[in-house]
């Protein structure tokens, strides 16, 4: 049975920091950054991290797939929020997947994204159920570094397995070479990078072609038959030079999304793959390669099944959901790169009782509420006594997930008193169409958002609070404008 991709999804945060603003702020120090000052980079909100972005990409990917069929969740990132607490497990929990599940994190390389996709495909060959693979990155970069300009935040997710694949795997090959173009040591926030010309000549242009050539040899596919070549590196002209060296058609070289997104780290090769699939047609041959202490190369052929895949936002949908951010100070504050006076209100201890969290994680992480089996009233949170005053039955609540349901705003405010990393804090009462409501934090409210009573909202998995004292963070769901494409979902 052939193995491949069953579904794809993507996620790019809404804010796009204008690179001209970064360059302007640093022109006094490094006028050379002006050369990178075109376009915009995706900028995660203060309440987003690799886990939350992976969850959004996974939701996009799973759309109408049966979540109970998922047999494993793999996640790749070099910016995991937790070093010892499985991040893929948080993703699985937020998606309300069953606990009979293999979960695994892949890290420590810009190649982790493609490597874990390869592994997922290998495992799927063994005949397991579909595997959810997701990659996300929110890289911390030094102010005035080229990486600050070229990086972006984002995620992609894929369901891989056997059966009705939309893209069959033709083959994969890995070259493992301990070529240290950059590194991030233990307890270091930032990358340390070597000279770009050396990386290009000895790294990109030697190691990557070796991996691709081997793959083409193994699969017997001719270079000129490749429809799309996804190579994530931000440096200009590199993908084109690799293509030329191997004989791939110039037209096959995919846009590396520098103009409107930035390089999303270890997720970027698969973010590009998700976009390539979104733009593909049956018969297309998509080649994905990565670079990081070697190179992975994977080759897919798009099948007729892609026509039957349910609609989703995908990378292009999320790229279109966009707010151009011109405030570089905000970027610095969100990444904790400036010592902001946050006020005494920010000192409130955000300790999470781990017993409390575990006991309530269905509510707090999966947003599972309750529905009364006696009167049919849905409520959040679930409780042992029905909220309906005409019912009040005890012990009749059945699990009722809210995360994918659309709500409407009943009342709202923009609060400048309460502490928020991004004031004003927007929140309000949201009401779900099929019952249930919540006084909910709002997120992704841009200055262009005109909140109104009755406005449709969709839930998004976000960081609720940072406990900086203990290095913990707790997640919950927040309401964001549903946007036209989600109305009546």
């Amino acid at each position: 049975m052939e193995v491949g991709i069953l579904a794809y999804g993507g996620y790019i945060p809404q804010s796009r920091l204008q690179r001209s603003e970064i360059a302007k702020a640093h022109a006094w120090f490094n006028p050379g950054l002006k050369g990178l000052a075109k376009g915009e980079r995706a900028m995660a909100n203060w309440d987003e991290d690799s886990v939350t972005m992976a969850v959004e990409a996974a939701r996009d990917c799973l759309a109408d797939s049966d979540r109970d069929q998922v047999s494993a969740v793999y996640m790749a990132s070099t910016t995991f929020p937790f070093t010892d607490r499985q991040n893929a497990g948080i993703v699985a929990d937020a998606l309300n997947l069953k606990s009979s599940l293999q979960t695994l994190d892949f890290a420590s390389s810009q190649r982790a994204g493609t490597a874990s996709l390869s592994v997922a495909l290998q495992v799927a060959k063994g005949g397991s159920g579909p595997i959810l693979f997701t990659a996300a990155e929110k890289r911390k970069t030094r102010a005035a570094s080229p990486l600050e300009m070229t990086s972006g935040d984002g995620a992609a997710a894929f369901l891989v397995g056997q059966g009705k694949v939309i893209a069959r795997l033709l083959g994969s090959h890995t070259e493992a070479v301990d070529f240290v173009d950059h590194f991030r040591g233990e307890n270091e926030d930032f990358d340390y990078s070597w000279e770009e010309r050396w990386i290009r000549d000895e790294g990109y242009l030697k190691i990557v072609p070796a991996a691709i050539s081997a793959l083409l040899n193994e699969t017997g596919v001719k270079p000129e038959d490749i429809t799309t070549f996804c190579f994530p590196v931000a440096a200009r002209g590199v993908a084109g030079a690799i293509a030329k060296k191997i004989g791939l058609p110039e037209s096959a070289v995919a846009d590396n999304l520098q103009e409107n997104c930035g390089e999303t780290g270890t997720a970027h090769s698969v973010v590009m793959l998700a976009l390539a699939l979104q733009n593909s047609k049956p018969g297309d041959k998509i080649l994905v390669a990565s670079f990081g202490q070697g190179s992975d190369a994977l080759l897919f052929e798009v099948t007729e099944e892609i026509k039957t895949l349910s609609p989703r936002r995908g990378v292009s949908g999320y790229l279109a959901r966009r707010y151009p951010e011109t405030n570089y100070s905000k970027f610095l504050a969100f990444h904790d790169l400036v010592n902001l006076e946050r006020g005494i209100r920010a000192e409130t201890d955000k300790k999470t009782g781990l017993t409390t969290l575990y006991r309530n994680k269905g509510m707090a992480q999966a947003m599972v509420g309750g529905k009364c089996s006696q009167c049919g009233t849905a409520q959040f949170p679930k409780s042992n006594m029905c909220v309906n005053e005409n019912c009040g039955a005890i012990g009749t609540q059945e699990d009722y997930p809210f995360a994918e349901r659309i709500s409407k705003v009943n009342s709202f405010t923009a609060d400048r008193l309460t502490y928020s990393p991004d004031p004003p804090a927007y929140y309000g009462m949201i009401q779900f169409e099929e019952g249930g409501r919540l006084m909910s934090d709002f997120t992704d409210i841009s200055p262009e958002t005109d909140i109104k009573v009755g406005m449709p909202m969709r839930m998004m998995f976000r960081i609720k609070d940072y406990d900086n004292k203990r290095g913990f963070r707790r997640y919950f769901w927040k309401a964001a404008p549903a946007g036209a494409s989600n109305k009546g979902e």
Partner: protein, 401 residues
């Protein structure tokens, strides 16, 4: 069948400290200030007090837990003392405890004292604090102004009132309270303002600006209650008695069930209906002489006018703009300046409101004394958030009215 509290208990004496930023006083100093006035007013000895109730809401910022701080501050002779906390209704709860104790016959004379020392946080507004370990997992990052501000968006949407008309009516409420507060020597805020200043003030939580929010104050208030018979035996005449004491707590309907539209207080309506019944009042708009509502925010006052059935639903904006609730209007509201200007030391606020009704009925309200003689005075507290709260209503009045 319960007969209710009407005329079973009389107020023997009351006291109230000056409210405000009492930088140089501890909570204990404020307690003594209110107590000394109340005891002198009652004309009794400390030894005659048989039980006491202490109200504080955010005790972790000042006295800490239990009723011991009251017993120690007043050197009470090892009598029963109980601490109560029920959000912003805490002061009214202390009063309810003392009144019920007397009504039950458990004791002849009881004391209720509320105190709050909030100006030790280092910043303005109520203390930012946690909400309980489970609530912290999912509650919105909501402040008091942000929670109450939402009444405005829901009320505007329901009644088709424009943002501008809403804002103007809210401004009128605050201007009125500042006018009233300027005539009250114990008030925290005594400056007069105008509507334009309110409308143009910095935004706190949309649509509430700075002047739509009440002050956070230090202060204390105290009541001593007994039976009408004992009051008379102590030489008191023209007694002011308790007519109704009602409390209503949310049960989750507003926050979890889609039957509530967010534009009014479910609890206030429930408590008001019971309070009027208990007091024998059938036409509140005509019978209530004056009232104090929990004007933590201008919008709360506006909505509460309707929930107390003084204004018809959807008509509060008109009544406010007509001056119906001004000090010289038909039914004055916050004649002492309200939470807005008298101030809001949470545990003391409910008792402070009763204190004003008590003074007005005795003709002792000084410069702000209402010329028409009040018969029924009503007070209202609302603690928590519009979507989950505690509401208390107290009606006091002339004995026999």
């Amino acid at each position: 069948m319960a007969s209710g509290i009407k005329d079973k208990v009389a107020i023997l004496g009351m006291g109230c400290s000056r409210f405000g930023e009492r930088w140089n006083d501890n909570a204990e100093d404020l307690m003594i200030e209110a107590y000394v006035e109340a005891l002198a007013d009652a004309g009794i000895e400390k030894s005659q007090i048989e039980a006491a109730w202490l109200a504080t809401a955010i005790e972790e910022e000042h006295v800490g837990k239990s009723a011991v701080p009251l017993s120690m501050a007043l050197r009470l002779p090892n009598i029963p003392v109980t601490r109560v906390e029920n959000y912003c209704a805490s002061g009214s709860e202390a009063f309810r405890g003392a009144v019920y104790a007397v009504a039950s016959g458990a004791c002849d004379i009881a004391l209720a004292l509320g105190v709050e020392k909030l100006k030790d946080t280092g910043y303005g507004g109520l203390p930012q604090r946690n909400r309980g370990s489970v609530n912290d997992l999912f509650w919105a990052n909501a402040s008091a102004p942000g929670s109450f501000a939402q009444l405005a968006s829901a009320y505007s949407a329901k009644h088709g009132v424009s943002k501008e008309d809403m804002k103007r009516a809210m401004a009128h409420i605050s201007v009125k309270s500042h006018d009233n507060g300027s005539r009250n020597p114990k008030a925290h805020l005594r400056n007069k303002i105008n509507e334009d200043r309110v409308m143009n003030a910095p935004m706190i939580a949309e649509p509430l600006g700075l002047f739509d929010c009440c002050g956070v104050s230090d202060g204390s208030a105290c009541a001593i209650v007994t039976t009408p018979e004992i009051a008379r035996s102590l030489g008191k005449t023209d007694l002011i008695t308790v007519k109704a004491l009602q409390l209503s707590a949310s049960n989750g309907t507003e926050s979890q069930h889609n039957s509530w539209d967010g534009s009014y207080f479910v609890t206030t309506r429930a408590a008001a209906n019971r309070a009027y019944k208990e007091a024998g009042i059938t036409k509140p708009r005509d019978q209530i002489s004056m009232f104090e509502v929990h004007d933590c925010f201008s919008i709360t006052e506006l909505v509460t006018m309707e929930d107390l059935y003084i204004s018809d639903e959807g008509k509060a904006v008109k009544d406010v703009m007509d001056g119906f609730y001004d000090a010289d209007g038909k039914v004055p509201c916050q004649i002492d300046g309200g939470l807005k200007c008298f101030g809001h030391p949470i545990g003391a606020s409910g008792l402070r409101m009763i204190y004003e009704m008590y003074l007005q009925m005795q003709g002792r309200a000084g410069e702000r004394q209402r010329s028409e003689e009040p018969v029924f005075g009503m007070t209202h507290n609302l603690g928590g958030f519009p979507h989950q709260n505690v509401c208390s209503i107290t009606i006091v009045g002339k004995e026999g009215a």
